[in-house]
């Protein structure tokens, strides 16, 4: 159990590595020289910064002067007209009163204009696959329905599948369905295979048409999505003409996996046992790969400033070097029971559990990791 003692020798050795002989190599003289240099640098730096602030203020002043000038130039004629109309009012008050209504009028007209103004669009953002889709204001309150597309080969076997998102109009009802905006999501590989004709989707001989792609996914419109011509199909056609889908890169696969799988760690009743569960709360199956027969690991620390390690499962047990994979279907979970036994002193410990799946090396120690404090008393 006293795992950390194995390393105490090497820690001692490291701590015994000599410190530099400061008097000889980094003596007072050197230290002072550097100190003087730093002080001098600081003086110069401060002066520069003051100058920079002053310059900023000056440019700011200049810019505002230009702005005022422009404002006067454009509003000038208007004011003159107004003051000609009601002479008895002082100029300045009038400016405020007259300009406000006219400004808001302008806003309204642009908002009604179905042109390019940003305000009449709403944006649907999908962080999971990395795209945004702009919709007309009338779609406010839309819902997104996730379905699956299925790709079959020539022997009618299911070979590929993936999500198909449907953006649904708020007025949609089961009795009166309106045209959805369907977006199929392919991985890059799936898309390439589709283009090669390795499989096809539905009976349609026509392939989906690409709407955009990012580093991980290709987004496409199913062929003949509107064959039934339900209400609103024309509007959807118009929306799609306007190039509404903007792909953006998803950070990486591993980030997604961490969003899809939720770990929990709970203490079980009685004894010194815990349960670690990794639940797939997403709509997609997730596959984890393992380099060895080990799937998870846990470590017990003493909760003190030094953070002494008491136990490391991976070092206590032996595992085969047989790589394997494990797929967690949507809604399913992996569950592991951890029994720590009774070999603990009266103290507070931290139990850390994490998956040993093959994630990017840098962060492997924090993959799905969960901590739980427990006290033996």
């Amino acid at each position: 159990m006293k795992d950390n003692e194995k390393f105490s020798d090497i820690v001692k050795e490291i701590r015994a590595l000599p410190e530099p002989d400061y008097d000889k190599t980094f003596g007072k003289e050197t230290q002072n020289k550097i100190y003087q240099n730093i002080l001098q640098y600081e003086r110069v730096w401060k002066k520069k910064q003051k100058r920079r602030v002053r310059a900023k203020r000056m440019t700011l002043g200049l810019a505002s002067a230009v702005a005022i000038l422009l404002f006067i130039m454009f509003n000038g004629p208007l004011n003159q007209e107004n003051s000609a109309l009601n002479d008895d009012q002082p100029d300045q008050i009038q400016k405020g009163e007259e300009n406000q209504p006219s400004d808001s009028e302008k806003d309204e007209t642009t908002a009604n204009d179905s042109g390019t103004a940003a305000s009449n669009k709403i944006i649907y953002r999908n962080a999971e696959y990395g795209f945004s889709f702009s919709l007309p204001k009338g779609w406010e309150g839309y819902t997104v329905v996730t379905e699956t597309w299925e790709g079959t080969n020539n022997q009618s076997e299911l070979v590929e599948s993936g999500p198909r998102l449907a953006i649904r109009h708020p007025d949609w009802t089961a009795e009166n369905p309106r045209q959805d905006i369907p977006i199929m999501v392919f991985t890059i590989d799936q898309w390439a295979a589709l283009e090669k004709g390795e499989y096809h989707i539905g009976a349609a001989p026509i392939q989906p048409s690409k709407l955009g792609e990012n580093n991980n996914y290709v987004f496409a419109l199913p062929a003949r999505y509107n064959f039934a011509f339900p209400d609103g199909y024309k509007e959807v056609e118009d929306i799609l003409k306007g190039d509404p889908l903007q792909p953006n890169n998803v950070e990486s696969d591993s980030v997604e996996i961490t969003q899809q799988l939720q770990p929990t760690l709970t203490k079980m009743d009685g004894g010194n046992s815990f349960q670690y569960v990794l639940k797939n709360s997403s709509q997609q199956a997730v596959t984890l790969t393992f380099d060895t027969s080990q799937e998870f690991n846990y470590i017990v620390w003493k909760k003190d400033a030094e953070g002494t390690m008491v136990y490391d499962y991976s070092e206590d047990q032996s595992f085969d070097n047989t790589p394997h994979k494990k797929t967690i279907a949507p809604g399913e979970e992996l569950s592991y029971t951890i029994d720590l036994g009774q070999d603990y002193e009266r103290q507070t410990y931290i139990l850390e559990v994490y998956m040993t799946s093959n994630e990017p090396e840098e962060d492997s120690s924090t993959k799905f990791h969960q901590n739980l404090e427990f006290t033996i008393n």
Binding site: F7, I10, V11, E13, I14, R15, A16, L17, P18, E19, P20, D21, Y22, K24, T25, F26, T30, Q31, I34, Y35, N37, I38, L39, Y41, E42, W45, K46, I299, W301, A305, E306, G307, M309, D312, I350, E352, E362, S365, T366, H369, N371
Partner: protein, 168 residues
Amino acid sequence: MASNQISEWYHLYNKDIYHFLVYYVGSSDVEDLVQEVFIRAIKGVDSFQQKSSPKTWIFSIARHVGIDEIRRRNRSRIKQMLSFRGEQQDEDTPDAILQFNENNKLLYQAIQSLKATYRDVLILRAIKELTVSETAAILNWNENKVRITYHRALKALQKNKEDFFDER
């Protein structure tokens, strides 16, 4: 005000930083780097949040200065190798100022052969004897990651050291 701060920090930490850089960069010639650390501190003092400790802040600057320096040295080493083919330069070691014995040398080589994250955590935790939370602040990791990585680094180090020993 700020000037007093820098002076105070300099006097508190200049030796620590020197010690750190000697080990981190693996060279005895780091006075300029110490200066660079504090110059960067002056430039960044506005962004330094009072809530974090100046010690870990200065260390994290020093680490970045160290990383830059290692890169620069690697570049110039490659250049040198290209221009004087075959002329092998001596591996940089801080022997000159550290007076390593044979065992120290071996251990130090083993540390230098580790990957960067392991070296980071070993030098901060074991050589500079910083606490877990200080190390976490410097590396911008959570404390568990520091503990685990430290543990793994020690394990890897032990193995490397044995390998070096066998080679001899």
